[in-house]
Symmetry: C2
Subunit: 338 residues, 2 copies
């Protein structure tokens, strides 16, 4: 029997908020009432949206906040001047242990900086990382880091392997996820120095929580042969956005090429495939490595995407992700920057 999960919600970030946030909560409550929401934002706007829903008022309380961190605000400005913002107050509720997990569709950079300011890093973790779900032939991978850390050393990458496999186990079945390092080739001598050193540590480490399967190349990310893909934040960000750009290019090109009759006839056969690829299902990057989990919804997603992220929040807390990360950590010699 799972406990009620207390979710802190920044209702003011991203496109079309707080409307999509409140609708997203409503959608999630229709399926699962084992969440309780602390909703941070402009009281008047929130009450107006909540009055249009049936369930939200019974499973939430509003905490009125004055300020909003804008999507194009610099993270440092946001951190300095944002103490009365819905985002800051959301993270603060985690610090005060009032809530179990937080979710925001707002400014990613500001969210990372504020989270690092207010929350402690898990002991033994050098840098927190941003992880996301990536569709593959069978189901989904966890990929990290996607942009929190531009430069990483072997200790960071080994931590990402531990944290990524803890996340995978929290969201999906399987006791020992398969972990691979993203590289430009499969042979042990390929890649830069950091990758070679990380390979050596992971290969020789008798870890009980995941299986290290070696390197993986970009063209095999979606093959479904591994569960967790580890990379530095620069490479991960380029890979994720390149995949997004390619998917958009193809699906738009395809849509423009199909005539109306063929769209009609293809509709049902295409529907299943489109559902599999629906980006709303993969919505929700998770900031891993802090004492509390911080979930980032895509700013451009809609209420259905936001509801998917709430589902991720629920799973993460019920699976006790933070405890899993702590027990997953591996020892890396020479833990200084190198």
């Amino acid at each position: 029997m799972s406990e009620i999960v207390k979710i802190a919600v920044d209702a003011m970030g991203g496109d079309n908020s707080p409307k999509k946030v409140i609708e997203g909560i409503e959608i999630s409550l229709k399926k699962n009432k084992k969440n309780y929401f602390y909703i941070y934002g402009d009281e008047n706007l929130l009450n107006k949206e909540i009055s249009k829903t049936k369930l939200v008022k019974n499973y939430s309380e509003i905490i009125n906040t004055k300020d909003i961190i804008l999507d194009d605000e610099s993270p440092l400005t946001a951190a300095k001047g944002g103490k009365n913002s819905s985002m800051w107050k959301t993270i603060e509720s985690l610090k005060e242990k009032k809530t179990d997990i937080s979710i925001s569709a707002g400014n990613t950079g500001a969210l990372l900086v504020i989270s690092r300011l207010l929350l402690k890093t898990i002991e033994g973790i050098s840098k927190p990382a941003l992880a996301a779900l990536w569709p593959n032939k069978n189901n989904m991978n966890v990929v990290l880091d996607l942009g929190a850390n531009i430069e990483c050393d072997k200790k960071n990458l080994c931590d990402f392997a531990s944290m990524g496999s803890a996340l995978f186990k929290s969201l999906f079945e399987g006791e020992r996820p398969k972990v691979a390092l993203l590289n430009v080739g499969l042979e042990e001598h390929k890649g830069n120095d950091v990758l070679k050193k990380t390979y050596a540590v992971l290969k020789n480490n008798k870890v009980k929580n995941f299986n290290f399967t070696g390197y993986i190349e970009g063209n095999h990310i979606m093959d479904g042969n591994v569960d967790v893909i580890v990379t530095d934040g620069f490479t991960g960000n380029i890979a994720l956005k390149t995949a997004e750009g390619t998917a958009n290019f193809i699906t738009k090109g395809l849509k423009n090429s199909l005539n109306k009759l063929s769209i009609l006839i293809s509709f049902y056969s295409l529907k299943k495939f489109k559902e599999k690829l629906d980006p709303r299902k993969y919505n929700g990057a998770i900031f891993l490595g802090l004492e509390s989990p911080v979930v980032k919804s895509h700013g451009g997603t809609d209420s259905i995407g936001f509801a998917h992220s709430i589902n991720v929040c629920n799973k993460i807390v019920n699976a006790n992700l933070i405890a899993k990360i702590k027990s997953n950590l591996i020892t890396v010699d020479g833990e200084s920057n190198e």
Copy 2:
């Protein structure tokens, strides 16, 4: 009036060679007879294939070579023991100025190492780079480096900008190609130190041969707003392969989802789109920065893809790519490794 282009062909590398190589030459000759081919490989096999074609024998000569560099051979083994191979002899003909350009569908690593061993680097260029064509909304981009250099400094990246724009001008219209640096964000402070330094040089340099447009993110590579995208070989390789993997994932998933009737009805409308995305049209990476151009055909392409690469060879020589690169170079202060 263009001169006859003398193309050195390594006929033994890649899948299904030399059959696809000879067929590719035949296809190219049907459209353009202003090429002459020096074909390196096993005489008996080549004669057998050439006897099945109409044009090849009148526009080529065979140079019999004993050895073949295998696709899975390590580049260093190939360089040490490969002196009698078709690949080595092909590059040697460039060194001896017997030919204008070379093409091979063989082992990429070996081709890069042998080319660097036998050919001089263009004065002023620190590291040669591997460039390729990438489809976009309007036409094609040039992207480099795609894997020749795992680590790059600002001087290398500035050279790539010069070489990439020279290649773009050789293959397409336009006097001042738009050049962008691949990064994780658009703001000047984003990315690693090398990118920030390169940005500063390119922004302040009054170059006459290209327009520097700043940073570009992975999701905009295919938007068609820039002509040349510059990155280090590690990032470029990950981005290219991730895009390939994503494209394969979507097109295969789509094919499996469509029923036979909808495929039939969609056939003509899909045909045009599929033609645009046909990877054979983008076949042919170009190794830039040596005194002669070296073209790498994809090992897995077929005769049509190989013919496309021959077309690229012809354009590059007629446009005098090497002279364009030399006149395109920009001065970078502090040209040592940093």
